[in-house]
Symmetry: D2
Subunit: 244 residues, 4 copies
């Protein structure tokens, strides 16, 4: 699998931005997409530089897309002024998705989404908000409280209303075919209570999901290790046959 | 149009290599491909860094692909030893073409090819050798003699036999539907005699082509200027409607 | 001159960002720096992709640094929340400058700054605000009014106070050794009145500067052409001997 | 530590090439350099994409340089013809070294060198050939026989004479201050006999070195793990104080 760097003009940000993509070196497309989201203060290269993701996906007929979410929580922020646009949910859901469909050999059906920390929140939120788009979600060591911290006065109304993954879970629990939902957290991770809370909430809703705790903290060693379980789920849900 | 950097494993080179690609920001695919080849000692970024190609193609529903040909003349060299592979014709015709068809939203029909100097030779040679692949050729300031200088003992037999664009022109002249062929050269360019010779040869063969001489030398100012005529031909031959 | 892509962690943005740099292929350092700033909605690659800057600087013993300013006006914005930091003036003046001094072979003395449109404003503003840092300023087709449009409630107090290049010019006019200041604008550019106003203001202050109007509009053809005059000024002011 | 991509014109290759570099985000230079060489068929990004090297070096005041050696064994090959140059030893020892000294804030003293497989051979060979340049060598899973396989008729005379690390070890054994030399290999690696042979040879010469065998094969898991021991040696030999 090669790693490519893609430049696109994002209407959602009002400027050019860059995403990375890991493309299959074999197999026949169209391929489904996995959006893999980075954590706070990282960039679109973090998963490539700081984990062995490239090796872990080597046999999967999958296009892995790594957007750059800055420090946004993958939310649609209100513009700071008429120029300064920060609609990061739209970056992924509209702009990068359109760019992929225009330029790459990707499937029209459901895709997968994952991430760590801020990106775990982003993956869970976008996965639950768009269950028609995503069949498989896996969130690591997630900061599920980001939506609470974001000042509603600064967030676009549509993102405020859907910033809370606990509320989104209630909607998804009523769906006939919800996405396959998993999340995990290290037992030494400060964020573990929010993960336990979401787990309890989904239990109470009767929403099918997998929640795992493992020894470990908020570190790349944890993510490099457990992303392999996430990929195994995505492979299974998307029904991918490993490449030769 | 954004500029992307694509990494692929090339069987023809026995190693990973990189190509650049300019992808449309609008329009609906599939899009045809233009291979645009650099000159001796340049790399896949030369056309981007040293000309305004990115701006010139801004309105074309076209995927512009910029391979890295090193100093190879885009020929298939024999391996220096069992490890050291240098099949640059195969890099373009097999490996990058397969990678594009696997991963990008490109047409299955005929594409276009162009280049400058060593890349002009490469464009003319590959365009004439594969008339089923290329509908439009434009070679700037070409070193059409490269095939003569390449020691046949070092070149793969298939590339030796087809290294000479004069001979290839004879084959193409017999085709019912040859590609649209154009080339140009600066009047102060040391390579002009080879361009005049190919022009005379094609005239004698009755092979339709356009040959232009312009004031200028072997410089990027010449190529930045005249590549626009090449793009206009590719647009016309590939029947592209400019993007809004 | 090769084009390199540099990743750094910016305290000012609270995240990783990328800048481009054009490094000399000959000569002996340390080399002075030219910051060359892009316009609204462009990124750090705009000058490389859309002009012939790489060729124009080929003979200069100069490190050309191309930051990514997004849509910020190169101002220090207040954080949207405790995570979302947008101090773009600090990105250049603190973070990239420190990164250059830590990692590259650059001079400790005065450098140069230039840019177009939003980046022309940024170059003029930062050049006038930090006359101890910059000996040479050249702003093309500048949006000198950006500071007026930026809601003071959203801008850090230090940037509000210094957002107005007209006021900064008054301070600089009192300096014994102000930077060498130039700016230009196309006669068909909608921004021309602001350029004329700054010219008149500097005239009234008795502040030495060069202001040129040329036929042309707010286009890359204008900037690709007139950046050469800017480079000639930077060369002269920084006392650079062209490379062989 | 950020990862940067550097483009330079290489006289040794007669063309532009690219190397990666991991630059410190803290500390005060000048910094020593570690050349870290990839294996056969990989490129300059392999260590970044396929291991956690970026994280492993995070606290080291060190410039890690990752050249692109293709399939060359880091030897100086004879040119295929007058255009096609492949002097990969010179790429590292002359061109990249000069580029680093011209453009980066690197020390003038001794540096370190490491690599895997073909790059282990390259690191050991260049480290032993240039003991005035390198104070610390660590070669993983090395193909020490590459020099034997390279047809002398195709290699430049100076590289033929010094292609054999066993012979170079004899010269180094006579030096008053040889580099600190280490190498390791997996017990399931097919290359282990060559590693054992070099170990025995160095023993017989009385040349100080460390040789370790570990469970494992010719895999990135092995290199991602044991490169940490290599980095610890380089840190110690180069006398680096970990960054805060």
């Amino acid at each position: 699998m090669g790693v490519s760097t893609i430049q696109l003009f994002s209407e959602a940000l009002g400027k050019w931005t860059t995403y990375s993509v890991i493309l299959p070196e074999a197999g026949e497309g169209p391929f489904p997409v996995l959006f893999q989201l980075h954590g706070l203060s990282d960039d679109h290269q973090a998963w490539i530089q700081r984990s062995n993701l490239v090796r872990h996906v080597a046999k999967l007929p999958l296009v892995v897309v790594l957007p750059d979410g800055g420090t946004s929580g993958y939310l649609n922020w209100k513009p700071s002024n008429r120029l300064h646009k920060h609609r990061y949910e739209d970056l992924i859901i509209n702009d990068i998705t359109s760019h992929l469909k225009r330029n790459f050999n990707v499937t029209g059906g459901k895709w997968a989404i994952g991430g760590l920390s801020m990106g775990g929140y982003g993956a869970m939120r976008l996965g639950l908000k768009y269950p028609d788009r995503f069949a498989s979600i896996w969130a690591h060591s997630s900061a599920f409280h980001i939506g609470d911290y974001a000042d509603p006065a600064l967030i676009e109304p549509d993102s405020v209303a859907t910033g809370n993954v606990f509320h989104l879970a209630e909607d998804v629990a009523r769906l006939p075919e919800p996405p396959v939902i998993s999340f995990d957290c290290g037992t030494e991770d400060e964020l573990i209570e929010h993960n336990r809370a979401l787990h309890a909430h989904m239990e109470s809703l009767g929403l099918d999901h997998t929640y795992n705790e493992h020894p470990g903290a908020h570190t790349w060693d944890f993510w490099d290790d457990h992303v392999r379980e996430a990929l195994e789920q995505h492979r299974r849900v998307l029904n991918l046959t490993p490449l030769p």
